[in-house]
Every structure is written in C-alpha cells, then in structure tokens.
Symmetry: C2
C-alpha cells in the first residue's frame, strides 16, 4: 500500500490550519516519509533535493542534475523540477508560479546561512517566511503497523548480525576489527548501511558511552560493550549488549543485574498515556537505589524510525505522553571512568496495554 | 610536529582584526583542524562538541559526558568543559566568565533553530552575535606539505583498494556487491571510513552522476563507473574511473578520449594564480568542441582535505585564484540519459609552476 498520499493529505491539512501557502521540506527523513524519494544527503551542505508542498494540489520535488532521474522514478506523486543554478533561483521561479504568500520552512534542518539567503529571496518576492520546527515529525512519531513490521525486520537482522559476529569476539581482537566485522556483516546481510558508527569498547573504554573503536586488544576477562544499529529498507535498529569474554567477576555481575533490573522496571511502566519522564525515572530509581545514581549520565531512550534518533525522548525532563505505536529504545547504563561501563539496550513498541519487545535475543541479559 | 598552536594563533589574529571577543566553532572539520579532537558528529543534530575560541588565551572545548574523556585525551591545548544540560546552559556560564562581548559563530554550520536559541542567550547576556561564514576555511584551503603527504597516502590507499577489487568486477555481479567489496576493502586496509557513499553504476545508470548502487547486474560489454573515496587519518581521497568489462565499442572509446583530453587540458592550465573559472573552461571547451557541451552538467572539480568537498570550487562561476598548496579534483564527464556516462577523476596539488598529480593509477585513462 502506498502511504504517501495519506501522509501528504495529513500534512496539507496541517498547513491549511496554520494558514501557510506552502512548506519547504529540507530534512532528509521527512522528505523520504512524504515522497518515497530515497536519496541520501551527503551532509547538510549537499542536499539531494527539497520538497515544496503547497497547502493544496500536487507537490514538487526540486533537485539537481545528479538526482533528477532517481527522483522521477521514486517520487511518483510529485512534479520533479530540475534546478541548474542552485535552489534559490529554482524557488524564485516556482514560488510566484504557485502564488505562495506565506512559506514555512524547517528551522531545525536549514542552516542559518541558507535561511539568510531564503530570507532575501522571500523579501524580494514579498513572501512571508515562517520558521517551523516539528511540523512533519509529529506525523512520524506514531508508526503504522507496516512501519513497525519494517522496524522489527531491522531489529531481527541486527540480532542476526550480532549472533554471527559474536563467536569471533575473542582475546587478541581489536575493538576496530570487531566493529568492522559487524558492519561488513550488516552489509552482506542486506542492510542499507549502519544507522550510526558501531561502538565496540573494551574494559575502561566502555566508560565512554560513545566510545570510538580503536586499536585496543581484547584481554580475557574484560568487558565488551557493543552498541550497533543498521538501516534496512530505510528503517533503523539500535541495540546494545555488554558482556565479558571469560568469566565475569562478581562486580560485573552485580552491576549488570542492576542495569537489567532498571531496563525491566522501565519496560514495566511503558504503555500509552505514561509520560516519558515516568519511564526514565522508573529505570533511574533502580540505579540510584543501588548506589550508582551519579553514573548514569544520559537519558533512558529515544524514538527510532526513519531516523535512529527521533522523538520521543525518554528523558527526565520530558512530560510528553507516550502513545500507542511509538517505537523507543530502553537503554539504561552505569559508567565508571576507572572501571568501564555497562549498557543494555532493547527496542519496544508502545501499546495501549503495555510494551511489546521487538528484540528476541536474550543473550547476556540474564546473568 | 603539532600544528594546532600555529593554527590557533592565525585564527586568533583574525578574530582580533574582526574585533570579536570569541568564536564558536561548530563545524566538525574546523573543530578537528583547530584542536586535534577527532570525534565525528552523528549528523548536524548530534554534535560531539563545540570549540569556544577567545581572541586571546587558551581555548575551550565544550562537550557532553559521552565524549569528555576522548576530548581530554586529544585536544591537548584546550580546557575541556563538560556540559550536562545542553550547550546553551554551558555557554551561559562560560561567556560571562570570559567577558565575551562580541561572539562570532559559523552561520554555515549552525541550524536556523540553534541560531535562534543562541540569539536568545546572547540577548540575555548582552552579547553581540556575529554570523560568519568562512572564517576558518580560508586557513584550511592551502595545505601544508604534511597535510599533502597525508592526502597522498589517502589517494594511494584508494588506488590500492580499487586495484584489489577491480579483478572481481565481472559479469553477474551487482552494482551493490561491488560497492560493498570496495568499502570492505577500504576498512580492511585501514581507512577510517569511506569519504562518501561509493558510487558504482552500470550502463545507463552511469548517466546519473550520483547514482546509488542497486541490484542491477553487470552484463559483458557494459560501462562501469566507479566513484570512490576514503578517509585515512582524517584526510580524504576522491577518484573516479570508467571502463568497459569486455571490449569497448568505438562510441565509448571516442567519448572516453574526449573526457580524458578535457582532464589533461585542465591539468595543463592549473598552476598558482590561474582562476578556477579558467580551469573549468579549459576542460569544458574540449567537451563542447567535441559536441557534448550540453552533457557535462556539473563543475569540473573541488578542493579536498579534511572534508571531501571543500574550497576551492573549480566552477565556471568562480573567479577565485588558485594558490600553491591547494588540492583539487579534476573530474570532467559526459552524461547521456539513454546511453550512460563517463567520468574520470584524479586529484592534483596546485604548485607555482603547474600541477602535481597525486594519482599514480593510469588504468583506463589512455584507451
């Protein structure tokens, strides 16, 4: 089923409510969500194109000669316009053509410098410019069952990759070698790409939640933290496992159990209507009461979909309520600079009656 | 030799000339160039930290708990400050501490929404905010011999990877399989990562200059276009080869020769003092005179360094002059939607007396 017309209809209804004549879409995941156009930006300076969505009528995809054929093949409901001299001259022609008087743009995905150029253009055309954040993201936050099924496929492929590489995580290997093996396996098994740079951290390196895999060689008895995600057909996975190669000592076992209890406490609380804050607190309380409250520095989790980090944020600061169909990570951790770190991360779907675990892999969770 | 103090000195001199009290550095390559801190951003929304460079005195690196250990290890000349509640509260404390009255920021690497938040903060602290573009980039555009040597290493590793994978580019293989093999080989040979998503395009797919490798299977006699780059120790390579698996027909041979002649014509013109426009025109003239003027839609080349696309731009619109020590690609092409495309890309160093070719691989260039 093609969901793009329905998504477009909902966005256009929202544009009409806001009395906007059109919206300029620059965010790559929003662009894909609305049009089906799968091209990736090479960083924020090298856009593969933008959408111009009028409040009424057929929308436009503007791109350059490098992408025009792909845009025509993929963005079926769109007029594809080729711009040859950059986006601004393209818009200079199109905005008056469509009679745009009030143009929204994605303030959270347009550089200050580009917004300045757009401002000049709008002024010269007497178009009012309206910076917006989160006009498309709220549409994306609750997933359809089809999207959930694609996310589940990504999670299951993620577990398959992990299980394939796991037996090769042996003393003598470097963090970098293992990260490489994981990313190679992802690609061989058909993932589009990793959803972020794979984290493999040994021993004290695991104290850095975003450690970069380096030349450090695994020694028997050391902690291994693997945080990995992939993109499959546009949708992301994200999973963390922490384990010991060899026999874990009592300190590791105790701390792992605390992190796992924190994860289960959060999962117990998750259901439609609960605030993000309550979920974060449920996990944090377990860690605090075990005496590690100062060593869990990050938020408990985040939404996952076309982006690996998207709304909602399971943070102690967020009073937003979970809704059925949201997909989030649950990833408590304990990090001690001189010792190392433990993080466990699974993905769940928020349901009316509780949470549905997307992961099936239980290795190392129940020590 | 540690170049960071010298780079900092030059930047601080430029801040003093502009009467700025400090500069906020958000661009990842600029951050690395000035501090040696190698962490990567996970997209523009997930910064691994920012620099605050006062016009006088020791600079600061602000980051969160995920990166603070790495920052302390790598950014030796910097005070590393941990911020726990986001960048803005961190700056709210630090700006008055340093007596900042006039703060520059990188308009081309700060989102409109983030600039809005920074504007509110600045107003509350009575700090004047100055959007800047290209304050650090001009320092980076001319490379030191040490940087050139690192770029050369990246180019040579790039060629080694290409030569390793080349024999496996046979009928029956898909674009995607070959792109995968190339990226795996890069990582196995010690590259940090690809410098962009590898392009492998067969037959008519090569008509898209930024084709995404797909399931298309190579047939004997078809064109193969490979555009690949890697990052080695932070510095980038970028190389394109186009060839035929089997016996090239006379049309392919003729068009390849035109593209190669265009490349050589540009290289003949390149030297310190020549405008970017003149170089672009030298290649474009060859293609136009051969009757393909409408089928070379992109600029001739771009600078390469810590970023794979950086200044200068070898474009027909640029009247900027080349300077000795710049490193640029020379990549003319011919693209015909119903036929396919040919692009040849090498990297050269601009010298006073001409250009120095960094590539050694001559395969397919001289058919």
């Amino acid at each position: 089923m093609d969901h793009h017309p329905e998504r477009l209809r909902r966005l256009q209804a929202s544009l009409k409510r806001k009395k906007l004549s059109a919206l300029l879409v620059t965010h790559p995941a929003n662009r894909r969500y609305l049009s089906g156009y799968t091209a990736l930006d090479h960083g924020i300076h090298e856009s593969a194109g933008v959408l111009l969505i009028p409040a009424r009528g057929k929308p436009f995809l503007l791109t350059d000669s490098r992408y025009v054929l792909q845009a025509q093949e993929e963005a079926r409901g769109y007029f594809v316009r080729l711009f040859t001299k950059g986006l601004m001259p393209g818009l200079q022609k199109l905005l008056p053509e469509l009679g745009v008087k009030k143009l929204g743009f994605e303030s959270h995905y347009l550089l200050h410098s580009a917004a300045g150029r757009l401002g000049h253009l709008a002024a010269s055309l007497k178009v009012e410019l309206v910076p917006l954040t989160k006009i498309i993201e709220p549409l994306r936050v609750v997933k359809t069952e089809e999207e959930i099924s694609r996310i589940r496929d990504a999670v299951l492929l993620n577990e398959e990759v992990f299980q394939e590489v796991y037996p090769s995580i042996r003393p003598g290997k470097s963090e970098r070698q293992i990260a490489l093996a994981i990313e190679n396996s992802m690609r061989e098994k058909g993932a589009d790409r990793p959803s972020f740079d794979t984290i493999v951290a040994f021993g004290t390196n695991a104290a850095k939640p975003h450690a970069v895999p380096g030349g450090r060689i695994l020694v028997k008895g050391e902690t291994v933290l693997v945080d990995m995600g992939l993109v499959l057909d546009g949708y992301c996975s994200d999973m963390t496992r922490t384990f010991v190669v060899g026999k874990p000592d009592s300190v590791f076992r105790e701390r792992l159990r605390i992190v796992r209890r924190a994860q289960l406490a959060a999962m117990k609380v998750i259901r439609s209507g609960v605030t993000c804050r309550e979920v974060d607190m449920a996990a944090r309380r377990v860690i605090r009461e075990a005496g590690y409250g100062d060593f869990f520095g990050h938020a408990l989790g985040h939404g996952v979909g076309l982006d690996v980090h998207e709304a909602p944020r399971l943070s102690g600061h967020s009073r937003k309520k979970l809704r059925s169909g949201m997909v989030v990570t649950v990833e408590p951790g304990i990090y001690l600079p001189d010792w190392g770190g433990i993080r466990l991360e699974n993905m769940v779907v928020v349901r009316d009656s509780g949470c549905e675990l997307l992961n099936t892999d239980r290795t190392f969770l129940d020590l």
